[in-house]
């Protein structure tokens, strides 16, 4: 029996990597490969969705199995040390590790974890039979640490999953009826996502272009210190009535937010792929983004990629996009095409081909 078992530091079925792992498991099983998910933690019902504690992996293994261990790497974890000690061949599915310097001033312990993640990647590299990167940007990092055999297979995400939550659609629609444009950003509240830069730009936009504009920041708390500061920052600027910190929302509510948005503004300093950009483009929402890390690769020419993110520049870019119907329509159309490149069917086919190549060559 051939097996490819996945290992994650944390398996949260609804987050981007958790979703990716679930789809990867389905693809592998469809290929006739035995596949389970092992994790150190499994919040939000992860254990109920079939994850197992990673230390139980060795209990029932037969040494005759042809088994690969596929590690979904995005941070430092004891799971990596465990895998390092295992004799089975390894595959790293690399989602990138946030630069520790961006996190350390806010959450020093997370900064240490992230540094650990990069160290563990470098240690796993020589034993890694294949490095699967979700972007060419990530692939370059894999090669830089010495992973010899690499491939790019995008994040597995179902852009068509679920219907918009009718209640949220109504609530956001009522706000829109009062006038003003709707900005949106989706991502955990974390320093490298730079939601404070979005707020700064939004403040400039309201001052210069649209005093009735609204901003919605959707996403759970990735850093308590950052989230608290952001909330106080919004209040300090007198924008509490215009900026909504929506928190983590259901898939249906997320779809409703994309439907209501006029523009998606991403000013992250670090993204290994950035699924929300693809989701926004798939929903026909024009994207204005700062060109950091993998964002330019993900967006390509389907959105406005800025070289600077000072508030005036971002505000002017949004005003330009929203004020020009032709440009807006053109970007929306280009965005939908670009999102099509990352449809679940296409990404699944790519992932399947990469894994098949590995199994055939073994």
């Amino acid at each position: 029996m051939v097996a490819v078992h996945q290992f994650l530091p944390t398996f949260a079925p609804r987050d981007a990597i958790g979703t990716h792992a679930r789809h990867a498991r389905a693809i592998l099983r469809d290929m006739g490969v035995e596949s389970e998910i092992y994790a150190d933690g499994a919040p939000d019902g992860g254990w109920r969705r079939g994850a197992r504690p990673y230390r139980t992996f060795g209990w029932r293994r037969s040494p005759r199995d042809r088994t690969w261990l596929l590690y979904q790497l995005s941070t430092g974890s004891a799971v990596a040390e465990y895998l390092q000690a295992r004799p089975e061949p390894k595959i790293v599915n690399y989602h990138n590790v946030t630069t520790a310097a961006l996190f350390t001033p806010w959450e020093p312990h997370v900064g240490v974890e992230l540094q650990e993640g990069r160290r563990q990647l470098a240690e796993l590299a020589p034993a890694c039979e294949l490095g699967v990167a979700v972007s060419a940007y990530n692939e370059a990092e894999l090669r830089a640490v010495g992973v010899v055999r690499t491939a790019v297979a995008p994040v597995l995400v179902d852009l068509d999953a679920g219907a918009p939550d009718a209640e949220v659609v109504d609530r956001l629609g009522a706000a829109k009826a009062r006038g003003g444009s709707d900005w949106l950003f989706v991502g955990r509240l974390a320093p490298h996502k730079c939601q404070h830069d979005v707020v700064r730009a939004f403040a400039a936009y309201r001052r210069l272009y649209d005093p009735a504009a609204r901003l919605r920041l959707v996403g759970g708390v990735g850093s308590h210190a950052y989230a608290t500061t952001l909330e106080r920052f919004v209040h300090g600027l007198g924008l509490a009535g215009a900026v909504e910190l929506a928190g983590s929302v259901s898939q249906g509510a997320l779809r409703a937010h994309y439907r209501a948005a006029d523009v998606f503004v991403c000013l992250s300093e670090h993204e290994g792929f950035c699924v929300p950009v693809i989701e926004a483009m798939g929903a026909g929402v024009p994207v204005v983004a700062f060109g950091a890390a993998a964002v330019p690769e993900t967006v390509r020419d389907a959105g406005v990629v800025l070289r600077a993110k000072d508030p005036a520049t971002v505000a002017a870019a949004v005003a330009r996009v929203l004020g020009d119907g032709a440009a807006r329509a053109s970007l929306a159309a280009a965005g939908r095409r670009r999102a099509g490149d990352f449809s679940l069917a296409r990404s699944s086919a790519r992932f399947r081909a990469v894994m098949q190549g590995l199994l055939d060559g073994a």
């Binding site: 210069l208 929903a283 070289r307 000072d310 870019a317 280009a334």
Partner: protein, 349 residues
């Protein structure tokens, strides 16, 4: 139903010309700034509001700011929040809190006293450092009275067009620090460069020039990394102490985006013999050689030095024998070097 199916079909129109779009955005920003619709200090004020709430580790290394935050953190609140979404938990928390408050308060008073004393000690230390800096810095009045106004960038007319040419096409806004009366900003504006300046002295700039009252190092320190396309440094570079000069170079490097440019217009220390002796004696810092700035800016092969105009010096009279003319030339180079230079560091994109 797919996401794309839910979105009303729109006329996709012509593909967007991204290069032209970015140029239009830059022009729009420059126009808004020049018209005064975006006040010079608006963005700085946004940063200050954010810094007020950010943890002390995340707000940079401005000493006064950090000390202020430390002072406001010395009080320890012993009343922990009792909120909870679970039934009865807030009541239980309140009971527990009430039971242990006397103990926590006793400890908190001691910790607060220790923290207050520590911050007070730091304040006293800061005052002593301020006094030392005051004693070593050149008084403004001495600078103003010194011949050639050494606070000002040297050979301004010579450098303005050259620097403007060097920063055209920079990947973002251009900052001039110290901007003085905006002499360089006017040239940059004429060359179509989106630029603003900072100067520690409050001035009323000419129309269309954005000039903020701020010190170079302080202003740069408050900016996010990679925020600027280019930084032009002059004036302050010749009077800072070595520690500040090193910090200025390092900070300027981090604040320009990939492909950015840092320019230093400095006084050549070899021409110091011609400067006003009072200004020299009272000066807190000293000008650095161009090679030193090139080293500090660390641009590698992308760094080059431009020599300023040469002053009138020794010239051979007609009929001077070649040997004597060559010696005169060597003497001229030794005794009358250019008063200024510009170091231009271009970083990889």
């Amino acid at each position: 139903m797919s996401v794309s199916e839910q979105v009303p079909a729109a006329d996709s129109g012509e593909p967007v010309d991204h290069a032209a779009l970015l140029v239009e955005i830059d022009q729009e920003v420059a126009r808004r700034r020049a018209s005064g619709e975006l006040p010079a200090d608006f963005e700085r004020d946004l940063d200050l509001v954010f810094a007020r709430f950010a943890p002390v580790h995340a707000i940079g290394d401005d000493f006064g700011h950090v000390l202020e935050r430390a002072e406001s953190s010395t009080f320890i609140d012993v009343l922990a929040p009792t909120d909870s979404s679970l039934p009865m938990v807030p009541q239980v928390k309140r009971v527990v809190r009430k039971a242990i408050t006397w103990d926590l308060r006793h400890m908190a008073q001691q910790v607060t006293a220790f923290a207050s004393a520590s911050v007070r000690a730091l304040r006293l230390l800061a005052e002593r450092v301020d006094a030392l800096e005051e004693a070593s810095a050149r008084p403004a009045s001495a600078a103003a009275s010194a011949g050639g106004s050494p606070d000002r960038a040297p050979d301004r007319d010579h450098w303005a067009p050259l620097v403007a040419a060097a920063v055209v096409g920079a990947p973002g806004r251009v900052l001039h620090a110290e901007a003085d009366d905006g002499w360089l900003l006017a040239h940059l504006g004429s060359a179509g460069v989106d630029a603003y300046g900072v100067d520690p002295v409050a001035r009323t700039p000419p129309a269309g020039i954005e000039l903020r009252e701020d010190a170079a190092l302080h202003h740069l320190g408050a900016l996010p990394d990679g925020e600027l396309g280019a930084v032009v440094l002059s004036g302050c570079v010749d009077r800072m102490g070595l520690g500040h000069q090193r910090r200025l170079a390092a900070t300027a490097r981090t604040k320009v985006a990939p492909g950015g440019i840092v320019v230093v217009i400095g006084r050549d220390p070899r021409s110091a013999g011609r400067a006003d002796p009072v200004a020299q004696d009272l000066g807190g810092g000293r000008p650095l050689h161009a090679e030193t700035w090139a080293h500090l800016l660390g641009g590698g092969e992308g760094t080059h030095v431009l020599a300023g105009p040469r002053p009138p010096g020794l010239r051979p009279v007609p009929g001077t024998p070649p040997d004597l003319a060559a010696n005169l030339h060597r003497l001229d180079e030794l005794l009358f070097p250019p008063a200024s230079y510009a170091v231009v560091a271009r970083y990889p994109a």
